[in-house]
């Protein structure tokens, strides 16, 4: 393992911000820590960088315990949330900073800065002032600056947080390609699940200083570990249920579950795609409370009698109007009993 956190704990005024976190990052792996604000994910990066000391546990980098190793001697890179470019230096000065700190000769500095700027798509920008860069350009410069000293581990704090949506979607693809090409080991944190799923080989979901789930994007998406993870991923159709055989007993009535689902009481997730609209007489009777246009589909919010609301994903032309009465059927393929180990 390139990076191992073993029982890493940090408390602010008695309250644990990181609570006995164990995390491994293998070489060339891209790991994305995902969590709401205040879940301790930025503190995790600061602990690895050496900007924040641990109250308990260890940070091991390349097999060496980092206790007592100052930030500037750890050889990791960190890209800050709002970039933190040095305002009094131009683009080239910013990118060259780490090289200078490591005593690289002038000629090599200039050469590498040129290459890095080319790599991040800003060729020839050396003499430009930092203040005149757009948000996306600043982000690229920050990335080039972090990459320049060739850190063994590159950490990104909300790397695309402040950019607008289209730029974000483009950059996330570029980043993944770039890291793949360079073979960089990356530990990123973000609160944006789309960003995390697009970027990462492995996603780690954090909640209140603890790791709630760790797995490939697909695993986490398909089988959220618990209600918190499911709701954080944007799923709202989560209820208490009792599974017996191929169906679960829920406030929405009997809901079919996949074959081999764990039996007994548990928590059930029905993905919006698994909520099918039928004629009012043929299923669970619901009133359409609201609809939200989502681009590729319409999210329809349904209010059953005496049961929690349901969200359904509908094709554009099939979407009912608010106030309509509809019936609901469930699709076993889109339901998940939470907390189940992934099927072997």
């Amino acid at each position: 393992m390139l990076l191992s956190l073993e029982g890493a704990t940090i408390r602010f005024g008695g309250r644990p911000v990181l609570d006995a976190v164990d995390l491994d990052v293998a070489e060339h792996e891209i790991v994305c820590v995902l969590g709401p604000s205040g879940s301790g994910k930025s503190t995790l990066l600061r602990a690895v960088a050496g900007l924040q000391s641990l109250d308990a546990g260890r940070v091991v980098l390349g097999g060496r315990d980092q206790a007592g190793v100052a930030a500037h001697k750890r050889g990791v890179g960190l890209m800050f949330q709002d970039h933190q470019l040095f305002p009094q230096r131009d683009v080239g000065g910013n990118v060259a900073f780490g090289l200078r700190m490591h005593g690289a000769p002038k000629g090599r500095q200039a050469l590498e800065v040129g290459e890095l700027l080319e790599l991040v798509g800003l060729p020839g920008a050396e003499r430009r002032a930092v203040a005149e860069l757009s948000g996306g350009e600043q982000q690229r410069v920050a990335l080039a600056r972090a990459l320049a000293p060739r850190p063994s581990l590159l950490m990104l704090d909300e790397p695309l947080g402040q950019l607008d949506r289209s730029l974000r979607e483009r950059l996330v693809v570029e980043l993944r390609e770039l890291f793949g090409e360079l073979g960089t080991t990356v530990l990123a944190v973000t609160h944006d699940q789309g960003e995390a799923f697009a970027l990462a080989d492995r996603v780690v979901v954090m909640r209140e200083g603890r790791i709630a789930q760790s797995g490939t994007p697909l695993e986490v998406w398909q089988r959220p570990a618990d209600e918190f993870v499911a709701r954080f991923l944007g799923f709202d159709n989560v209820v208490e249920a009792t599974v017996s055989g191929e169906a679960a007993d829920t406030p929405w009535g009997k809901v079919p579950v996949p074959e081999g689902a764990r039996q007994g009481p548990g928590t059930l997730l029905v993905r919006p795609a698994g909520v099918r609209l039928v004629a009012a007489a043929d299923g669970l009777r619901c009133t359409v409370a609201a609809r939200t246009f989502r681009g590729t589909h319409v999210a329809v919010h349904l209010q059953p009698e005496d049961a929690p609301r349901l969200e359904a994903a509908c094709a554009l032309r099939d979407a009912p109007e608010p106030g309509d009465e509809v019936g609901v059927e469930f699709d076993a393929a889109e339901t998940v009993v939470l907390g189940e180990p992934p099927a072997a």
Partner: protein, 536 residues
């Protein structure tokens, strides 16, 4: 942090401790009874009373005269405002000796008022009080006016819309927001006037004596070191108390206020009232601040054979017999000492400010912060006296070394450096430093690469202040400057101490030179000053 602490331990704490020991220790035993003995003397009690009284009156007078000025500078926009602001600040960096001399030329024997109407004030307390107002006008205008100009006028307008009269709105909204700044300024003025030395020494004559002057008199004229030590301790305690109150007030001042850019709050005066106020403030500035300096220059040129540079030429010869060298050489001495002192003050103060920014939490650090301020108030005379009795034994026998004077001057300059640098350093985003550290910069490199470029201007300003303060430093220097190497203020004071028109004229001429050097230094600073830099 280690270096500044060591500096203060050796050159401040140790001398002060030496004073205490000298005063209260006889035959190896502590004699605390001496404190009572000294306090029982009626003339000492009178000095204490007068010191407090004149400081209080000076403070009230300064506030009365300078607060309208603060308002005008904060809220009015008029042509020449920038120049006027600089003019108002000049007195603050002027050496006390120059101020004393200027007022002597205005209200003293043979002074302008004496010639015109036969009015002399140099035997009255008024000369001292006016000189104190002259000195501290800028403190009030800078501290109070600075905040006033950033208070959002719409807050007052909101109160007006809710039914408050113009005065009620000011009293209920602006005054509470302003009062901590007024209190802080008042305390600063009180501190400066409480420890006033040069002004009282020159204008007070034999009748008026502050603690500081009395300490000087006891050591250099009566040679009663025990009494001087006790007086020093009394002053030390008083100044410590004032500084504690000041620190509290300043911390309270940092409470959340709605601050806006100063440019947006100033308007052109409109109507008879505002114009009258502006005219009044301008008149008070001319009479109180510009006139004394003008008279000083005029006197320096008013030689027996008609206007000319006779007195200046006389400075170049050693014939006067007061000095071993020509008075003009004092200029060179002063500049050399001041440059050395500035270098020391900037190094020590810069390191201290950097250390304070790194760890800006914790009681220890706050204590250190306050400690750095002490030399500002703990009289220069104390410092000079302490140097004299503490640094005379190996391994610290510096009596014969030229470095003694710059060290004392640096001690007085350090607080200015720290006060100027701290706000700017604290404004540097901590994560920029972290970004540099993660990129491989050691703490020292971080300071050089991140902090230094951003505080270069502040550093320049701090250096300028330290230079001006060192150049004009009188209280400590007068103790320790060697007779053959006088500084400008010491030379002026000595010339004034002798009778004769030539000496008087030479004092005026030397003072003028000193004033010009200080004013030029300040005006250069005004060009690089940013609004963020400190409160001085």
């Amino acid at each position: 942090m280690a270096l500044p602490v060591a500096f203060f331990a050796v050159f401040f704490a140790y001398p002060v401790a030496a004073i205490v020991a000298r005063g209260l220790k006889a035959d190896g035993a502590w004699q605390f009874g001496r404190i009572g003995d000294v306090l029982a003397q009626s003339d000492i009690r009178h000095v204490l009373w007068f010191t407090t009284w004149q400081a209080l009156v000076s403070t009230v007078l300064t506030l009365l005269i300078a607060l309208p000025g603060a308002y005008v500078f904060a809220r009015f926009d008029f042509r020449g405002k920038q120049v006027l602001r600089a003019v108002v600040t000049v007195p603050f960096v002027l050496p006390t000796v120059v101020v004393g001399t200027a007022f002597l030329a205005l209200v003293g024997r043979g002074g302008l008022l004496d010639q015109l109407w036969g009015v002399r004030l140099d035997t009255t307390v008024w000369a001292i009080l006016l000189a104190h107002v002259f000195f501290n006008y800028a403190v009030v205008v800078r501290t109070v006016g600075g905040l006033w100009s950033q208070l959002d006028p719409r807050q007052e307008e909101a109160a007006r819309m809710l039914g408050a009269s113009r005065f009620a709105a000011w009293r209920k909204v602006t005054l509470p927001a302003l009062s901590p700044a007024v209190a802080a300024a008042a305390l600063m003025v009180f501190l400066f006037t409480f420890t006033s030395f040069g002004v009282v020494q020159i204008l007070g004559g034999p009748t008026f004596s502050t603690l500081e002057v009395e300490i000087y008199r006891q050591t250099s004229e009566i040679f009663d070191l025990a009494t001087a030590a006790v007086l020093t301790m009394i002053q030390f305690v008083a100044v410590g108390a004032i500084l504690v109150v000041h620190a509290r007030t300043v911390r309270r001042r940092e409470t959340a206020l709605r601050l806006v850019a100063p440019e947006t709050t100033a308007r052109r005066p409109r109507g008879a009232g505002p114009w009258a106020l502006l005219a009044g403030v301008l008149a008070s500035i001319v009479v109180l601040l510009v006139l004394p300096l003008g008279v000083l220059v005029q006197r320096s040129l008013d030689a027996p054979g008609g206007y000319g540079f006779a007195y200046y030429r006389a400075l170049a010869s050693a014939d006067g017999g007061i000095f071993l060298v020509a008075p003009i050489e004092a200029i060179g001495n002063s500049l050399e000492y001041a440059l050395a002192a500035t270098a020391i003050a900037v190094a020590i103060g810069g390191l201290a400010a950097a250390a304070l920014t790194r760890r800006n939490t914790g009681r220890l650090v706050r204590g250190f912060d306050a400690l750095l301020m002490l030399p500002l108030g703990v009289s220069a005379v104390t410092v000079g006296f302490g140097f004299l009795i503490a640094l005379d034994k190996p391994p610290l026998d510096l009596r014969a070394s030229w470095i003694l004077v710059p060290l004392a001057q640096a001690l007085v300059g350090v607080p200015f450096v720290v006060r100027t640098m701290l706000p700017v350093l604290r404004a540097v985003d901590g994560r920029l430093r972290e970004a540099a550290a993660v990129l491989g910069a050691s703490p020292w490199r971080v300071w050089r690469e991140v902090d230094l470029p951003m505080v270069r201007r502040a550093l320049l300003i701090a250096a300028g202040f330290a230079f001006a303060v060192s150049l004009g430093e009188f209280g400590a220097t007068v103790f320790i400057a060697r007779p053959d190497n006088p500084t400008l203020p010491v030379a002026v004071a000595r010339l004034l101490g002798r009778a004769g028109d030539l000496n008087y004229g030479q004092a005026m001429a030397l003072s003028t030179i000193l004033m010009v050097v200080c004013a030029v230094a300040l005006l250069l600073l005004e060009r690089v000053r940013t609004d963020r830099t400190g409160e001085f």
